[in-house]
């Protein structure tokens, strides 16, 4: 078990996340994940990373094609909160938590996965 797989598992089992995964930014393939089958975040990643351009009324009126690679996204929903962080090394970290969980704790889990990516 690698440091990354341990960290992904720990984010869910010990950290309280609903799911956690690390994706390859160019292929969207899962590098490592735990309980991640329900994440289904391909459409969000495509829009976030600029493979799909925004097309809603606000973007049509004011522009809005991403001018630079996005780094960090957090969406607090009715039941779940989604955290996404893109790394310069080409990975995308996605963590899903209950929306009752603190946003700061969610970012801490993302941070732990970022650190684990740097470990062997």
């Amino acid at each position: 078990m690698t440091g990354l797989s341990r960290a992904v598992r720990a984010a869910v089992v010990e950290g309280g996340a609903l799911a956690a995964a690390v994706y390859d930014r160019s292929t969207y393939n899962v590098i490592e994940g735990y309980a991640h089958r329900e994440l289904d975040c391909r459409a969000i990643l495509e829009l976030l990373l600029g493979d799909v351009m925004p097309s809603g009324p606000m973007s049509a009126l004011h522009g809005g094609a991403p001018v630079r690679a996005a780094r960090v996204l957090c969406v607090v929903g009715a039941e779940r909160t989604l955290f996404v962080s893109t790394l310069e090394t080409g990975e995308v970290i996605v963590v899903s938590t209950r929306s009752t969980m603190s946003v700061a704790l969610g970012w801490t889990l993302v941070g732990s996965l970022t650190n684990a990516l740097g470990e062997p």
Partner: protein
């Protein structure tokens, strides 16, 4: 092959202008060394044998596209101009073969000379047809690369803007010039933009680029607000009581000054694209924040994809942080510049604090 002479060398194949001889005379008078050939084969030999800065060839001539293509290998530093009444397909082929521009006949001598000067002014750099650009994007791009360039804007609003070494020095829109003209041109939402060399010495604008642009945007915003206020007065002043604003703007400004100076707050409607800045009408943080209204739309679409019942979104892209917050049936956007990890954390904290403040504030005004 580079031209060692200080005199630009122009090679013209066949007849490219209506007044062909006058065109050549004009270019010679402007200090260019002009050579002419009657065929594309002969032009290929000249290109291989001597340095040529600009090649002009009618696309209707036999072998013209082949000449453009081979010129990329024979003389990579030669800039290529085509002349044609070509259809879209032929134009595409010419551009793919390396033509900087394809000029449309009938072509007068000054027009040809101007196109050649533009080609000479572009020893490096890309040419092309782009879309989804705003005028502000283009001006900032040329400012950041300290370019000297003259922009012609065509469309519902026509005008010209000149930058010298990245600074705005002149703007014209109809009979208006200077900052007033720049404000009018910045109102442009759609149109066609064309660049050329700066061939005049008019100076109707002075001052640092950021200040000039910010002043012009402020003038534009004030004019728009004036129009809107007049419209509302005509329609509603006698029949309906003044509608209470959802946010007390003074209180919002105080909050921002204390907790997040430099940030902006908008009331938005993602379904229609309507945007209203609440904290400081008249100032445009687009300048500082690289286009929040567009990024706000992007953040909104991301949120809708993630969860249609979202309540809060935070999107950090480059040095811009955008947050959307739903309070009752209202959607607010918050944006600020972010640099460094410490400010990332502070942005998350600011958004949480603003969400709390807005919730209490909006509730108390109902």
């Amino acid at each position: 092959m580079k031209n060692p002479s200080s005199q630009p060398a122009i090679l013209i194949v066949g007849r490219v202008a209506d007044d062909h001889d006058s065109a050549i005379d004009l270019m010679i008078a402007q200090g260019m060394a002009v050579r002419a050939t009657e065929s594309t084969e002969a032009a290929g030999e000249v290109l291989a044998a001597s340095p040529i800065d600009v090649l002009v060839v009618p696309l209707s001539m036999s072998g013209a596209l082949g000449l453009l293509t081979s010129a990329r290998d024979l003389a990579p530093s030669t800039r290529l101009l085509g002349v044609s009444i070509a259809g879209a397909e032929e134009l595409t082929e010419a551009y793919r073969a390396g033509a900087l521009r394809v000029l449309t006949p009938p072509l007068a001598a000054p027009e040809l000379a101007k196109a050649v000067r533009l080609a000479l002014d572009s020893p490096i750099g890309l040419h092309g047809l782009l879309h989804r650009l705003s005028l502000i994007d283009v001006l900032q791009m040329f400012h950041q690369s300290a370019q000297s360039v003259h922009l012609h804007l065509h469309g519902p609003i026509e005008g010209e803007i000149s930058l010298l070494h990245g600074n705005l020095v002149d703007a014209r829109c109809g009979a208006v010039a200077g900052s007033e003209a720049l404000s009018a041109l910045l109102a442009t939402q759609v149109g066609y933009l064309e660049s050329s060399t700066v061939d005049h010495e008019r100076r109707t604008i002075s001052g640092p680029f950021d200040h000039v642009l910010l002043d012009a945007l402020r003038t534009l915003d004030e004019a728009n607000r004036g129009d809107k206020e007049c419209f509302e007065l005509d329609d509603d002043w006698f029949s309906a009581p003044a509608k209470q604003e959802v946010v007390d703007r003074d209180e919002l400004r105080s909050w921002l000054n204390e907790f997040s100076p430099g940030a902006g707050v908008w009331l938005i409607d993602l379904s229609t694209g309507a945007v209203e800045r609440l904290d400081e009408p008249g100032a445009h943080p687009e300048m500082e924040l690289a286009g929040p209204p567009g990024s706000i739309g992007w953040a909104g679409e991301l949120a809708e994809r993630a969860d249609p019942n979202w309540t809060r979104v935070e999107l950090i892209s480059g040095s811009t942080g955008i947050a959307l917050v739903r309070v009752r049936d209202l959607t607010f956007a918050f944006a600020r510049l972010i640099t460094g990890t410490a400010l990332h954390r502070r942005f998350h904290a600011d958004v949480a604090r603003l969400t709390s403040w807005l919730s209490h504030h909006v509730e108390s005004r109902r």
